[in-house]
Amino acid sequence: MSTSSAIERAAGRALPLRGQDIDTDRIIPARFLKSITFDGLEKHVFEDDREQTTARGDVHPFDAPAYQGARLLFVQSNFGCGSSREHAPQALKRWGITAVVGESFAEIFFGNSMMIGLPCVGATADDMTKLIAMAESQPATEFVVDLASMSVTGGGLSIPITMPGAIRSALRTGEWDATGLLLANYAEVERVARELPYVTNFA
């Protein structure tokens, strides 16, 4: 019924990305949406931010050698605000990110990530500060995001994480790809539609 698989945990090194309200235009600028597939988006993740950071003589975390191959992304609050482009979580996932841990997420980004099996879990601002500091000072630290125990551990830290129950359950059972569920018992859908007078234009 579903083509998706259960997601119980994500593990690996973590890429720390500081900043509040990081919008999806920054994650993947609109010019890279000119495509009829999601292929190759990973090459352009945070492209403009990265170029501007390089121009200032700094190194963006997505360019830092220490974070190549990172599997987790640590962020601050309202990550993924703005446009509904699924290209944003697609670009992150294709780059290699398998879970995002942050203080909070914009709703459409959060939902889009779930739809492609990329868990976004929440932690308090204080705990995010600890996690980001650890990933910055000890980039080789291996972390584990565990949806069973609802914690992220690594480098001696054990941080509680949160996620709405429905989303957690969808990821753990593999039902995050819901199309099959939506098509099941379709007679029920037809009944709901029949009772909506606008469906027949109020005939």
Binding site: G19, R31, N112, A166, A178, V192, N201
Partner: protein, 476 residues
């Protein structure tokens, strides 16, 4: 029991609670455009599914269409390819497409209401975050991602968790030169860009009661900028008279039946809200964003904040924004020099927006250093504006008059900022790089304020343009 419109619409469309705890919602109207749908159609076909309700699905091209040279094939081969894919998919699946040749093409959130497709009490989805616009009619309208577009195409349903409802009451009369755009920028400035997370916003109060549908759409459009997944206004006589006679609206006796049903979907008096916020319309000034998110705004006659003026957690954001914009804390907003003036987007490119802007520019000339363009929200808006001679007013003043589309709001077509240009824009997002140049800078404001800035060459307070504004906004 008293219910909000949100609860009523949700309950009427809820099919069942899915095993994961989300609710399966029936979708009354699915709007499709060329940018977020090709991958959805491809996956649909890979899985061997058909479009379940092509009669409840409508498509147009808006994001990538060039607004100047519109002859096919487009000069931009990728734009041409995305357009052809949408055309082919619509043909194969029997989805009506309002393309450039239809005479009814335009920004998806402008044409849905214009055609009478958007109606009270509906659930509406589109692969675009500004789908919240349609809430102006008392619909529940959600922006969705491409995988959800695939789901809606396949099942005409969406898996969602319910939202809380915050009632935002704006009462009183807006001052002359103050518009719906200023109201929503003020709301976002006050509640923050993430203040709406987990909520649908119900906009109400005497100010909203007196607003036209165009103005209500401007407000609902930017709900997502405040973090709210949806925003709505309860349907009333203004809504019903807007709908009467529209192409897809019910007609004759059916209209009367519809009106009774629509009326019944409005929030009940005494309905309970999760939160209530009130604003005084008289205290709202023309508002301009100075930073890199739509919550970073000030009244046009105010000065820019310093990092020390905000909560400690927000300080890095203010520092980053001032640095990116090249502005100094404490500098006045008015007098900021602009390079480009853009009147367009799903926020502010409807006929009434163009009328207000035209009133300001009439008899004036765009400042010599300013590149100015008007991009009507739809072909229908463009034709109506041309009948009134608005295009001539803009052209004579030195604006370019373009074809309909999203254009410089997100710069997926050739309309974009260059380098560090500063753009006075009637659009909805001032994110870094949003208007096509990674270092370009956007100042969001009302269309009348953009018009005044275009003429002055810098940000000015449109309230001082008393001769131009005579008669505008009176009685609101």
């Amino acid at each position: 029991m008293s219910k909000t419109l949100f609860q009523k619409v949700w309950d009427r469309h809820a099919v069942r609670v899915l095993p994961n705890g989300q609710t399966q919602l029936y979708v009354g109207l699915h709007l499709v455009h060329e940018v977020t749908s090709p991958q959805a159609f491809a996956e649909l076909e890979e899985r061997g599914w058909k479009v379940r309700a092509p009669e409840r699905t409508f498509a147009t091209v808006d994001h990538i269409v060039p607004t100047r040279a519109q002859a096919r094939p487009f000069a931009d081969l990728m734009a041409e390819s995305m357009t052809s894919v949408l055309e082919r998919k619509c043909r194969e699946h029997g989805i009506p497409l309002f393309d450039l040749a239809s005479g009814q093409q335009g920004i998806v959130h402008v044409i849905g209401p214009e055609l009478g497709l958007t109606q009270p009490g509906m659930t509406i989805c589109c692969g675009d975050s500004h789908t919240s616009t349609h809430g102006a009619f008392g619909a529940l309208a959600f922006g969705i991602g491409t995988s959800q577009v695939r789901d809606v195409l396949a099942s005409q349903c969406l898996a969602m968790s319910p939202l809380k409802v915050r009632r935002i009451e704006v009462n009183g009369a807006l001052g002359r030169g103050v518009y719906a755009k200023d109201v929503i920028l003020t709301i976002i400035g006050r509640l923050g860009v993430k203040g709406g997370t987990g909520y649908a916003y119900e906009y109400a109060g005497t100010t909203l009661d007196r607003m036209s549908m165009d103005e209500r759409m401007t407000i609902c459009n930017m709900s997502i900028e405040g973090g709210a997944r949806a925003g709505y206004v309860n349907p009333d006589e203004t809504t019903f008279s807007y709908l009467r006679g529209r192409q897809y609206a019910p007609a004759g006796d059916a209209f009367d039946r519809a009106r009774a049903w629509w009326q019944g979907m409005a929030s009940d008096r005494g309905a309970a809200y999760d939160d209530v916020v009130t604003l005084d319309a008289a205290a709202i000034a023309p508002t301009v964003t100075w930073g890199i998110n739509p919550g970073q705004s000030v009244a046009v006659d105010a000065t820019l904040p310093a990092p020390g003026d905000v909560a400690p957690l927000d300080r890095p954001g203010v520092t980053e924004a001032l640095d990116f914009m090249g502005f100094a804390a404490g500098q006045p907003m008015a007098g900021t020099k602009i390079d480009v003036a853009f009147i367009g987007s799903c926020t502010n490119a409807r006929l009434s927006d163009l009328r207000e802007a035209a009133r300001v520019v009439a008899g004036h000339t765009v400042a010599r250093h300013v590149r100015a363009l008007v991009v009507p929200g739809s072909q229908t808006v463009a034709k109506a504006a041309e009948r009134e001679g608005l295009d001539a007013i803009f052209r004579e003043a030195g604006f370019e008059w373009r074809g309909a589309g999203c254009s410089m709001c997100l710069a997926m077509n050739p309309d974009r900022l260059e380098g560090r240009e500063v753009c006075a824009s009637s659009s909805n997002r001032n994110f870094k790089g949003r208007q096509g140049s990674p270092t370009g800078r956007t100042l969001l404001m009302s269309p009348a304020m953009v018009a005044a800035a275009a003429v002055a060459g810098e940000v000015v307070d449109v309230r001082n343009w008393t001769a131009e504004l005579a008669g505008v906004g009176d009685g609101r």
